[in-house]
Symmetry: C2
């Protein structure tokens, strides 16, 4: 582990930048350089625990280390598991509710589940069980019955949409750890890769594969720190219109698309997913996630949701910063045999999720070319391992 | 859902009671009456999602609803999963570190894993994979390298002790949700019940079964809100000696005993566990957890760890309140065939965990009799469902 000198680090949230000045993700208070050394140490220690599975007669799928979900071969199928945090999106729901009186915790529930499920399905898993983690800043959070009921109803609806069982969970009141009036939301998910050939850790990823992008519904749950900083410096804040009749706060709170119905439909339709990437933090740089050296050439760019176009414009982001930070309309990427690309798009459409055959995988140095925008991201643009 | 009038609820932590006055758990700021209506609504909604498993060809084990882990029959074995929160014990570690300079996050890591694993094993599951959830109040939390490394090392050691693989996890920086300088710790765990006859949801619990109690190492991670309030009103706070050479803060921070090596050893030794209860919140009332009507008669009470005797004395608890709130030396209860009770004690001892054949299950009205203390807890003493 290594860390930069403490004196160079902000102790808390950065002061808002003056209106009109560009606003980077790091200025919005997220310091990956501080978190990442811990992540590296934790990943190393975690990897060293794998031999314990052998005494149960099982073995980890080593290629899942560093991927979005952890996979263990338990014999008849693989087991996949994950825990994921919502992040700061609940703060936007709180701020918007103060302004409009409207509760968005049903959408927030879906966002939280999407964080876990959309990661879990990248490895080819069918999600089976979700566990809820709702840590409030005190018992008082649960006194707002409408809000609590919206959270419960939204959680159930998202589980039903994904065909998963809501197993249970934890609703601690954590005064002194979670701030008063706030809630820390996370979801754990367990699934199985069944049959085992559904495993999509990228072993079969090859030059010639098509890249299919699935539409996002908006910002999803990544980039909210940036959006919140932006709201602070807008004269009308979350009430600013990002498109006629669509206000910033409500646009941000569009619930994250749940992609597991699509990945299930793909399998049923005979589409063999070679690899998948959930486009979250680091935006389109996530297309570079697979460790092998390939060139990813994008020739078709999905329409950009108004809220993301607004953020990019107001934050003064160029295309490289916008696409390197936000999903910009593509919430999930599938890498499939070229001959199955159209079938993949059709299967997604049947699930109500617009999709595009957006490009292809090529032999060549590791990089992402977004041709319509003249963008290139190199191999060093994403360091997750 | 129903909630008491808002005016009757404390908005945050209660003011410390004057020294010498009794201190109840509710006065310590934990309001189960407010949380429980949400729990009930969530449990009902969760139960309604179970039919989704049928479309995958699986089915939930209905009896696991309301138990400590959720169980699904996936064919060759059962799948069990859970997410659990540490609670407020990290605040004690923070306070003690301020006083002594000593970091206890290695122990805190073990506590967090114990919360998940000790619940998971109650259903007869072998834990396989743990996921870490470490949500800090900002990137700054991770700058203290020694503390971060202790958390990583303690987490790995606890995984190794339990023979589970550390799959990965999430280390968000949640400024604005988690308080600055604090960390919200939780663990998700997935395991399997294999072979299926290891399932210990209580179907076989019967009059004549022995009750075997496993020693706790101290307070574990339940009752810390009470302990923190007590520290506030002690003149020397966490530095108060609870026994010669043993200070309150450090005694509280003894890491929670991990019981999965014992439950694995029991199976290997041929002991068939009919039911198990992790003794956490509600103390010994957890012995009443099983829904069937039985009388639980305890004739042997384990020695009380000095830190728990101290808390009970200083909080002015009588035996009913102490045993109804804290583990009082018994961290885990096993209900086994009487003929296997000695073998269970021996298996636990081989794992380094003292154990006692403490009583028996009898036909009769639902109640817990702790005869050496003259205590009776009735059927209404524990309402978890």
């Amino acid at each position: 582990m290594s860390a930069p000198p403490a004196s160079s680090l902000p102790s808390g949230a950065a002061a808002p930048a003056p209106l009109g000045q560009p606003l980077s993700y790091e200025e919005a208070g997220v310091r990956y350089d501080v978190i990442d050394p811990l992540k590296v140490a934790a990943q190393r220690a975690a990897a060293a625990t794998a031999p314990s599975l052998l005494r149960h007669g099982f073995a980890e799928i080593g290629a899942s280390r560093g991927e979005s979900a952890y996979v263990v071969d338990v014999g008849p199928f693989h087991l996949a598991s994950i825990v994921e945090c919502l992040g700061s999106k609940a703060l936007v729901a709180d701020a918007v509710q103060e302004l409009t009186g409207r509760c968005h915790y049903g959408a927030i529930a879906q966002d939280t589940i999407a964080m876990a499920i959309n990661d879990l399905v990248t490895v080819g898993a069918t999600p089976l069980v979700v566990q809820a983690y709702w840590a409030a800043g005190g018992s008082a959070w649960f006194e707002d019955r409408g809000r609590a009921e919206a959270l419960v109803a939204g959680w159930k609806a998202a589980c039903d949409h994904c065909g998963v069982a809501w197993g249970g969970g934890e609703t601690p009141a954590l005064a002194g750890i979670v701030e008063a009036g706030r809630i820390d939301l996370a979801a754990a998910c367990t699934g199985i890769v069944n049959p085992k050939e559904r495993l999509s850790l990228g072993e079969n990823l090859a030059a010639g594969d098509a890249i299919v992008l699935l539409a996002s519904s908006g910002i999803h749950a990544n980039g909210l720190s940036l959006a919140r900083k932006l709201a602070e410096r807008l004269p009308r804040g979350y009430l600013t219109e990002v498109a006629p009749g669509l206000r910033f706060g409500e646009a941000l709170l569009a619930p994250t698309t749940l992609y597991s119905p699509v990945t299930e439909a793909l399998w049923a339709a005979g589409v063999r997913v070679h690899y998948a990437a959930n486009i979250t933090g680091h935006g389109w740089r996530k297309l570079l996630r697979h460790p092998a050296p390939f060139t990813y050439r994008i020739d078709t760019v999905p329409p950009v949701p108004p809220v993301l176009a607004f953020i990019a414009r107001e934050a003064g982001h160029d295309a490289a910063e916008a696409y390197g930070t936000l999903n910009m309309g593509a919430g999930f990427a599938l890498f499939v045999p070229a001959a199955q690309a159209d079938a993949a798009v059709a299967a997604a459409a049947r699930c109500g999720v617009p999709a595009w055959v957006a490009g292809r995988v090529e032999a060549g140095p590791k990089r992402l070319l977004v041709e319509p925008l003249g963008l290139t991201f190199g191999a060093d643009a994403l360091a997750l391992r």
